[in-house]
Each structure stands twice: as C-alpha cells, then as structure tokens.
Subunit: 270 residues, 2 copies
C-alpha cells in the first residue's frame, strides 16, 4: 500500500459513520468508543470539513444527537445526514403515503406525512417492532398494491450493540422483497444518492472526501463507488476477515477513530 | 395445448399438496375447499396411487392428519410426506444438533433430537414465533459457528389462510441468509431430494407421477424439474398471473382438485 501521505493527499472533508465509530449502542444508551470523543473534537478544530453520515433509523435525529451530546460528543442536528428525514423528503416529493413499519423512536420524523390509504411501505430498523404480525401487515399492504413500492431505510445486515450483534433492517427488507417478488429502494448507505446528499450538505466534492466507517460494504464499498476514499475502523461490527474481503478493499484500516484522525491531521490538507 | 388425454397418458401416481388444495388453513382450523373431500375419496377408490406431499411445517404430521380427518378427508399419517420428519432424519444422519426456530405445534417431531450446544439452525414456519428476539437468537447462533449451517423447512413465500395471505418460512430464511451471508439447505418442495423421497414412498417413477398444487414455483416448477408432470389448481394461493408466469408453465390449469380428479379418472391409466 502507498504511504499514508499519498493516500490522504487532498482530503478536505470527512464523513463519519456514527454507530461503531463514535459509540457502541445499547439498551442503556450505549458507550463511547475510547478516544472517539476527543477525536471528533480535534477534527472539528482542524480545517477539515466534518459531517456525520449514519444509517441509524431507530431514533429521530434529535434523540440521536442528544444521546451523543450526553456522552460528550461535539455534534449538532444540522451536522447529521440520517435516513428518516431524507425519506420524509422523498415521500413528500413523490406524493407517497406510506404504511410505516418503524420504531416508535423515529416516528416523529414522519409527523408531517399523510399515512392514510397507503400506496407504499417504508421499513426502518424497527427492532422489537419486527413482529410476525407487523411484518405480515406490511406484506399484505404491498401485495394489495398494483405496483408495490418498498422503501428501506438502509440495508444493513446487522450492527453491534453492547449486548452483541443485532439484526438490522436489511434482513427484513430481503424478507419482504422475496415474499413479494420485488426490489426495495434504499435510502441510506450504500445508496449513491444518499452519499451524494451528505457530500452536498458538507459542501465537498467526492474526490476530496473520505468516509470513516466500520461497515465494509455499507460504508467502505459504498463510499468508494461514489468516488470517495474510505477508511475502515477496527471497532463496532468490524471483523478481521473484512481485511481480506473478496470485493472491497479500504484505502486504509485503522484501529479506531482516534488513529484515523491522527493520520488525517498529519497528512490531509494543512 | 395438447388434449388432456395426451397430457395425462401413463399417469400411475398422484402427489397432492395439502394447504390450498385440500383445505384453506386458519385460526379455527380452516375449511375444506369445496369438492376436495369427495375428490380425495374418489381418487383413493381408483387404481391410481396417492400420496400427500406438504410443506406445512407448523404442525406435527399427527396434528395435521387429525385436523384433516375431522374435516372428512380420508387420510392417514403413513400417507403424508412432510418436512419435519424428513429433517429429523437428516439431523440424525449427519449428527447435527439444531437450534430450533419452530412453532410449538411441530416441536414433538424433534423430541428425539439432541439440541444441546447447537451446531446448526433449523427454521420452520414459526408464525408468531418469528419475533425479533427469536430471529436475533438464531442469527447469533449462526454467526458464532465457524461454518454456519441453516436448514429451512420449505422456502415458500406465503400461503393463504381464511384471514388472508400469510408470510411463510421462505421470507425468514432469506432474512437469515442475507444477514449471515450464507445459503440455506431446503427440506421441502421444491427441493428435488424431497420430491424424490415422496415418489419413493409412493413407489412410482417420476415420469409416471403428477403433482397437484397451488404454488407455481414450489409445486409446479419443482415437480417438473424432477421429471414429473404438474397441474395447478385455481384455489389457495393461486393468482391469475400464475398462468402467464415467465418461467414456469403447468401441464394444465384446473379450477380445483375436483376438476383435476375428474380429468385424471377419465384420462390416466384405467
């Protein structure tokens, strides 16, 4: 691999994944990953632009930011790209009235959306809300539509909480896709439109931006397909086998966000 | 299409799907499809061999047969090929100790199976048992195995109950396949091994056998790939679009089992 100086040359903006990079979630609210609070603070003191780009679809942006602030992170709502507000916008633009299979924690993001007489289904990480009954209800709504539209907030396979690995929305998206013989539209990483939204909100071109994440497919592969660079941290859902992934090779692997920020402050634009 | 006489010539044995052909299931036990009780009786009085071949994995064979007998069907346990006993046999042969994600109604079929320290996961149509917690538990068992083995009792997309369409085990199989990056082994239609088991138990060669089912992929496509003929009934989960399916074309479409039996008694071997 080339030297870090070469790999990080010209980086002007940094997209940070949240879960597994800043903190590990959990029933108690989760815990910050050691060194990440300080790393974010140092990054924001630098000349680099910073934006948070999450696939968390279980909490409203306000709740997520509040939780991170209580853990000591320097973060505000306006700095976060998250799938629920992005979806809400799409629904309004296309005149879609969703049947919502989502967690109560994120319901406030859809307060302004008409959900009567649904003409599509929106699924997010519903957690315990993924009961058989709720899944069957969403399935029946789709089967009753002439042209079923399924929008999924991310397509993650699983994420890591303090208690262990947790099935993510992608698994349930696949279940509905298979049952109905359809393909979902994904709002969230690794969808190119979603990365482009985050880049636009940060005001940096893809070739000048770098993604830092723990998900080899969603964060690393997705960002690279958009022309960005990407570093994988060895925290969160990282598994050693990711470093020998058959399809995706990160521009670098680092132990954690603190190491990534050290390297960026040393080698990205001064 | 050729005349019925030509299409049914040389048929000596009939495999009958149960749900959607004999009866529509439901919370109250379901109801027989009009004409099916008499059709089975007439078939069994003929020279044709008859066997029931189901993917029902929510009930033990004993409970399923009891339910059908109470509805008036002439059927006994020894005449039924069903996925739970077939799986139980496979587990014993391969020394597999399953984590079971199944309905309580079928648990008795696994009474003789060691489930301590699991080295595989078996999923069946668990119905309400497909809670997030149960799915996540099965997922974690698979992720902890060096070589994850997932056995699925059928891979149906949905079935029909009196209350409407119901998500079947296939959707949940796909969810676990995606989350773990693995492929399940299917015990049930349309697996060729499963059809061959039913044919062997009936004592008829594939080219002399015909399948009667309501599932265009699982029953019709699966049986045809094994060298059998297959008729689709317009009952159960049948949808009009099945008759224009891009990949699978039945050897005939009939309104219900009664019509299928009329044709068979007229045109199959006398």
């Amino acid at each position: 691999m080339a030297a870090w100086g070469e790999r990080l040359a010209g980086v002007r903006g940094v997209l940070l994944d949240i879960s597994g990079v800043l903190y590990d979630g959990g029933e108690d609210g989760g815990t910050p990953i050691p060194g990440s609070v300080e790393a974010v603070a140092r990054l924001k003191l630098s000349k680099l632009k910073v934006r948070f780009c999450t696939n968390d679809s279980q909490k409203s942006r306000r709740d997520l930011v509040g939780l991170l602030q209580r853990q000591g992170f320097d973060i505000s709502e306006g700095e976060v790209t998250s799938p629920a507000p992005a979806t809400s916008l799409i629904l309004k633009e296309r005149g879609l009235r969703p049947h919502l299979l989502i967690h109560d924690g994120v319901r406030s993001e859809f307060d302004q959306i008409d959900t009567s007489n649904p003409n599509c289904v929106v699924i997010a990480d519903a957690g315990e809300g993924f009961s058989y009954q709720n899944m069957n209800e969403a399935f029946r709504v789709l089967m009753d539509l002439e042209k079923p539209v399924l929008i999924s907030l991310g397509k993650g396979r699983y994420y890591k909480e303090t208690s262990g690995l947790m099935l993510d929305v992608g698994a349930y998206m696949k279940a509905l896709e298979y049952a109905c013989g359809i393909e979902a539209e994904v709002v969230g990483k690794p969808s190119p439109e979603y990365f482009q939204l985050a880049l636009k909100e940060m005001g940096v071109e893809a070739h000048e931006a770098i993604m830092i994440g723990d998900d080899i497919m969603g964060d690393i592969g997705g960002a690279q397909r958009c022309g960005m660079r990407a570093l994988q941290v060895r925290t969160g859902k990282f598994r050693p086998s990711d470093e020998q992934h058959p399809e995706v090779k990160a521009d670098g692997y680092v132990d954690n966000l603190a190491e990534a920020v050290n390297l960026l402050l040393q080698h990205a634009i001064k």
